[in-house]
Amino acid sequence: MIDQYNKVFKEAFGLELDSLVSLEYQSISAWDSVGHMNLIMRIEEEFNIMMETLDIIDFSSYQKGIELLKKYGVQ
C-alpha cells in the first residue's frame, strides 16, 4: 500500500520520497485546496475507494492520510 500511496503523492506534487514523510497540507504551494482535491481524486482512483467529505477535510498531512485510509481498508 505504501508504495502506491507514495507514488500518488509523488505524481501529484512532483516531490521525492524523502520529502513526503513530513509533508503537510498547504506547506507547499502545490498542496493548496485545488491540489488537495486532485490528490484526493488520485488516491480514490488508485485504491478504488470513495472518501467521505469529513475525511477529505481531515486529510491534513501525508501521515494523517495513511491513518485515514485504514478506515477504507487500505493499509
Binding site: M41, E44, E45, M50, E52, T53
Partner: protein, 252 residues
C-alpha cells in the same frame, strides 16, 4: 451535424425525488431516450406503483435507492451503494424538494431547517459526491431544479424561495469550479407546473396565480422534463452556468 433525436444512449443518470411529479416524468423521459437511470426516493410509499410502472426496466436499466435526503448521512451511504453497481454517472438531476409555506412572522425554525436540509444541503452533498465520479471521466452534466420563486420571490414563500435562490447561486459557482473537468452545471426554474405540490396551495390561490401566465396555461411536467433531456444530452455540450426558466412567460 444535425441531430433529429436527442439520445441518452449509454449514459447513466442519477435523479432525486423521482417517485412522483416532475422527477417521475424526467425518469420516464430519460428511460425512453436510452439512459440507465438510478433514482432516489424517500421511502417505499410508492414502491408498488413504481414496480408496476417500471417493470420493463427494473434492475436492468432502472435502479431504485431509498434514502431520506433530509438526513445528512444519506448521500455518503447512497454513493457507497451506487459504487456497488457503477463507477460512473453522466447526469445528475437534483430534483428532490419540499415546500412549506408560511408568512413572515409565522415561520417556525424547524420549517427552515427541513427545507434547507432537503432543498439545499443535500444538493451540495450530491454535487460533492457525484462529481467524484464525473471528474474521473472528465465529463458530466448536473441539472438542478430551482423554481421561478427563486428568481422572483413569492408571498408566503420566504423560506422556500430562499432555498431555490440558493440553488441558483450554487449552480453558478459550481459551473465555474467544475468547468475545468468538463462538467456542466445548469438550473431549471419551473414556473407554475401542474403537480401535486402546486395544487397543494389551494384552488383559489392557483387560479389567481394562473392568470399571470401569459401563455395562458399551467406548465406540464413534460415541459420541464424535455429541457432536462436537452441539458443532459450532448446537444447542450457548451451550455453551463445557466438558469433557464420554464414558465410560459409568467409574471409574478
Amino acid at each position: 451535424m444535425v441531430s433529429s433525436k436527442i439520445s441518452l444512449e449509454g449514459k447513466k443518470a442519477l435523479i432525486t425525488g423521482a417517485n412522483r411529479g416532475i422527477g417521475k416524468v424526467i425518469t420516464d423521459t430519460f428511460l425512453a431516450n436510452g439512459a440507465t437511470v438510478f433514482i432516489v426516493v424517500r421511502d417505499n410509499t410508492y414502491l408498488d406503483e413504481l414496480t408496476i410502472h417500471y417493470k420493463t426496466y427494473l434492475n436492468t436499466r432502472l435502479f431504485v435507492f431509498f434514502y431520506d435526503l433530509a438526513d445528512a448521512e444519506s448521500v455518503p451511504k447512497l454513493f457507497k451503494e451506487i459504487l456497488g453497481l457503477t463507477n460512473s454517472i453522466d447526469i445528475l438531476v437534483n430534483n428532490a424538494g419540499i415546500m412549506q409555506d408560511a408568512l413572515i412572522g409565522m415561520i417556525d425554525r424547524s420549517q427552515v431547517q427541513n427545507q434547507f436540509n432537503v432543498n439545499v444541503f443535500s444538493v451540495i452533498d450530491m454535487i460533492q459526491y457525484c462529481t467524484k465520479l464525473m471528474r474521473k471521466n472528465k465529463s458530466g452534466s448536473i441539472i438542478n431544479i430551482s423554481s421561478i420563486v427563486g428568481t422572483k420571490g413569492n408571498v408566503g414563500q420566504l423560506v422556500y424561495s430562499s432555498t431555490k435562490g440558493a440553488i441558483i447561486s450554487m449552480t453558478k459557482t459550481a459551473a465555474k469550479e467544475l468547468a475545468a473537468y468538463n462538467i456542466r452545471v445548469n438550473a431549471i426554474a419551473p414556473g407554475l407546473i401542474d403537480t401535486d405540490m402546486l395544487r397543494s396551495i389551494g384552488e383559489n390561490k392557483l387560479q389567481k396565480l394562473s392568470s399571470n401566465v401569459m401563455m395562458n396555461r399551467l406548465g406540464s411536467k413534460e415541459d420541464v422534463a424535455n429541457l432536462t433531456l436537452f441539458l443532459g444530452s450532448d446537444l447542450s455540450s457548451y451550455i453551463s452556468g445557466q438558469i433557464i426558466e420554464v414558465d410560459g412567460m409568467t409574471i409574478i
